[in-house]
């Protein structure tokens, strides 16, 4: 196998954390919608926390992306 081919495969494998990030984001927002349906008054404070959590999760995906780019180059 060529070295560049191996690099491409390694870069693709480095993007696997995206699965976890997608699962986590779907979990956060589905529970947010459930919670707002049950208690619409507390929507503002809950959505603030959910957005912060989403931002924290997103950074994991972006770190994986940067590592993949560093591998491929």
């Amino acid at each position: 196998m060529d070295v560049s081919t191996g690099k491409m495969i390694a870069g693709a494998l480095a993007l696997l954390p995206l699965l976890g990030v997608a699962y986590g984001l779907s979990n956060i927002f589905s529970s947010l919608f459930k919670a707002t349906a049950q208690n619409p008054v507390a929507k503002d404070s809950m959505s603030n926390m959910a957005v912060i959590g989403a931002g924290l999760l997103e950074s994991v995906a972006l770190l994986a992306f940067v590592i993949a780019i560093l591998i491929v180059i």
Partner: protein, 239 residues
């Protein structure tokens, strides 16, 4: 690679002092533009304060009330002492991110050294405030309540490591978000060059991404300030 050319630092006025390079680079230029535009915004807005605010004054008031809300929510009754720091951090990051979205411009927050400096300011502030307020008791921050005595050395080490890594993660998040967004824009525009006749499709996608980037630029500054507030709260009230 053509994607990374936008992050290159170019020397505009080369200055060398005793072997140290302190040149006036494009990063310096855009930092100066950021600071100048911030100063101009507040100067125009607060030149003549009226009871019924005009356009620029109401922009200033909206930003002020937004940051005040963040500080009040996290720092409690002592928020007034720390709001200037938090607000200047927030405004600097927002304006740096937004100026980077202009074509042919340079994003100052896409370099780890800049964001690391910003987060180290917060880190030093947290340590200084904690030690000044609590003295030697500050180290109770690293041992949460209700931990058994046998486990406390291990917990202390883990919490101390987390405390030291926090500014690194804080800076890395902002930097990586900006870098990834700009790379994505560049890749889409690269498609536009290759797809000759159908180049309007990637350009359209790029303009949608640009709106998304506009949102991300404000959102990341918000996250930065909120996390700075949370770590400051931990030092102020010790759990």
């Amino acid at each position: 690679m053509y994607v990374f050319e936008q992050f290159k630092i170019l020397e505009i006025i080369p200055i060398n002092v005793f072997g140290y390079v302190i040149s006036f680079t494009n990063s310096t230029l855009f930092m100066a533009i950021t600071a100048l535009s911030l100063g101009l915004l507040s100067f125009i807005g607060l030149k003549k304060v009226r009871f019924v605010p005009g356009f620029f004054q109401s922009i200033n008031e909206i930003i002020f009330n937004f940051v005040k809300g963040i500080c009040k929510e996290h720092l409690g009754k002592e928020y007034k002492n720390y709001q200037p720091l938090i607000m200047s951090l927030f405004l600097f990051i927002v304006f740096g991110n937004l100026l980077g979205l202009f074509p042919m411009s340079f994003t100052i927050t896409s370099h780890l050294s800049v964001t690391m400096a910003l987060s180290l300011i917060v880190f030093c502030m947290v340590v200084f405030v904690g030690i000044r307020k609590h003295g030697f008791k500050f180290f109770k921050l690293f041992i949460p309540n209700g931990v058994p005595l046998v486990m406390s050395p291990l917990i202390f080490l883990i919490e101390f490591a987390i405390f030291l890594v926090k500014p690194l993660i804080l800076s890395l998040r902002l930097c990586v978000n900006m870098v990834a967004g700009h790379i994505m824009l560049k890749v889409f525009l690269g498609f536009a060059v290759k797809m000759k006749l159908f180049s309007f499709i990637p350009v359209f996608a790029c303009s949608i991404l640009l709106i998304f980037e506009f949102f991300v630029a404000i959102f990341q500054a918000y996250i930065f300030t909120v996390l700075a507030c949370i770590s400051l709260k931990d030092a102020l009230y010790l759990h």
